[in-house]
Symmetry: C2
Amino acid sequence: MSGRDEIGVGLIGLGTIGTGVAKVLQRNAAEIEARLGCPLRLVRIADLDTERDRGVSLDGIRFDSDAEGLIDDPGVDLVVELIGGYDVAQRLITRALSAGKSVVTANKALLALHGKALFDAAEKGGADIAFEASVGGGIPILRSLREGLNANRIESVRGIINGTTNYILTEMERGGEDFEVVLKRAQELGYAEADPSFDVDGIDAAHKITLLAAMAFGAELTFEEVPTEGIGQIEPIDIDAAAEFGFRIKLLAITKLHREGGEPRLEVRVHPTMVPASSLLAKVDGSMNAVAVAGDAVGPTLFYGAGAGELPTASAVVADLIELARERRRAQVGRVAPLSYLPHTMRPLPLLPLGELEGRAYLRFQVLDRPGVLAQIGALLGDQGISIESLIQKGRAEPGGSVPVLVLTHPASEAAIRRALDGIDQLPDVAAPTRFVRIEEDL
Amino acid sequence: MSGRDEIGVGLIGLGTIGTGVAKVLQRNAAEIEARLGCPLRLVRIADLDTERDRGVSLDGIRFDSDAEGLIDDPGVDLVVELIGGYDVAQRLITRALSAGKSVVTANKALLALHGKALFDAAEKGGADIAFEASVGGGIPILRSLREGLNANRIESVRGIINGTTNYILTEMERGGEDFEVVLKRAQELGYAEADPSFDVDGIDAAHKITLLAAMAFGAELTFEEVPTEGIGQIEPIDIDAAAEFGFRIKLLAITKLHREGGEPRLEVRVHPTMVPASSLLAKVDGSMNAVAVAGDAVGPTLFYGAGAGELPTASAVVADLIELARERRRAQVGRVAPLSYLPHTMRPLPLLPLGELEGRAYLRFQVLDRPGVLAQIGALLGDQGISIESLIQKGRAEPGGSVPVLVLTHPASEAAIRRALDGIDQLPDVAAPTRFVRIEEDL
């Protein structure tokens, strides 16, 4: 603290979230000081673009493009990294940690891929790294897993943790519009990136569930192994069918630990999922996020809030700054392990293959409207022990055309479903690859 | 730690929650150690009844009725108070804190009435007092307000924070049964106490919202001033009417800070409330709890989970123990102020009178079935500037009997409603006092 009774914050990256951090630190300065006991002051900002007006006062704050100078500035006690990306961000974070300056970041991609190196650098440098804003925006979900629920054996973490895809699915449902139409509008409104693949293909959610799985189960980070499927294949007919069967479709990120019998195995996956229409997760609309956590003692819980955006994300960044400022004032570090479990207790966990998942399934067959085709499909499902709970066929095809047949199965293993679909999609009367959406219950 | 690399826990009160704490500490010992870095061991228990079998192993744990001996035991680093009540609990907690031993308690009644004395004792004794289990059972709501959302100016906290009343209202809705019938069944099932007044009259929820208001706004504890109304007056007809108007009835505890114009004023109240059927709070059924918090940066959030019960409450108690154990290992204390705001920044806040509340209202008139009575009621409402949005009258009375008339008003001040009802309830054709249920929107 260099003899000052205030904590100086240096901010690298004055984009949307960085601007939010500046706003929150300024307008809530009195509230923050009443909780922390001293001012938490933004003293320096680094960004390549020093010209653009962000609509926030930068009076008294040094602002240039020198990120390394910021880190080395003795007036900067805590460093916020909000530039995103990999190499430069990692180099800057590591530089700060090595200088004993604790870091706040929202960079889930970097954490999911290179978290271990960063946590090692923090330990070596005698500094902390905090990253509440990296998952669930303003929802204090990491803090809740790490501290609020840490008396539990966590059983599952299941969440809507990508606002862009939830916005698109909600709009598709409202207007009955196609994915591509809604995506284009979301891009025009700034809810989706020009290159939307990170969001719509589920990669962003996979980064986040990687962090959640590590914190919930002490599993070493496994981003490369997370089976991931985006929402691009979902069509309005699937959303309608979900409603008829009593579900809604959400891009869910799921992780569970299977402790039964022998070595524990980690289930982790991201894909469009039908959730019961009566569940709380089904009510999470637009760009909102929610994470359901089940623990052996606490039972089911749910944490809901804005998953992205300038001020909600800044809320999480500044909460981390307050926590690190407390530690800095007490000359303490390492109070809680960054991933909840102490590093030496974390271990690689074998993954549960998707084929072993059991559950009801939604199947959309596209069939030529000829006698006998449903019997053939039913037989191939039956061969794999899969029985049909409900079936919807609407309308008749034009001569020579095809019609969709929508099926809800009784519980079956995913391996059995895959085997049945392999056969079904070879049938001459099946006109297109069958769509398969997993169903998640007990929510 | 007396040279041992473990933290010793002493537990006063081996009732339902105490038993849960013993179970969680035992069965999740490995998980807890992997997060904390050393064992957290239950070493001693005090309870007046040392005979009853609680279904938990007490091997190796000293168990007697000597609470003071437990506090003074050098093997006890942290003390858990779970006996409830006022005088004895306060004396024991104060004794522990004065000896520099941090305390975990779930005693919301004691905290709401005598919190300040306890926090002073903690500061003087160089110890911490933690009480996550006192509000929302296993939901880490206090931790989230104190740390997760502490970058925000909190705008409102609104919650279903009493499981017994939510269970009763849910059952009344499911079965169309009267309050007294469901209450009796809840008592038989152990969901309600033999003397249910603490729960059904809203006192328990008032204790909890007192703590939440203090943590959200830095308001000095104001339990005596919380306007509180229980659910005993709610009848099945009101629940049905709520559904027809698009609402559900919940016992809501509400606090908001009105910062507009001059000195901030505190709104705090507990009463049956109609919430929009589409809101997340409306989906919180049975004995579950949920708390909606809105902050100026984070926007709307919601925290959901079991609000009571052996293991969920133990989840919160043990999370507090882990936090205090971390501090004990580092010989630290006072990391975060117990009510989030540093004591010297807390202040008494003037209360917003209920009369100044504005909102739509539900009114149930009981009228003699004579021509002109609705016109009289409408005129008296109109005199106060209250207009009717929707009106339901079902069936006709027996000759000489009365019928209910159910009204949803447009927004009006509560003072105007009270004035109108004063007049209406004097009308010769009004057969019983009018029922008034407040409506809470923007949820």
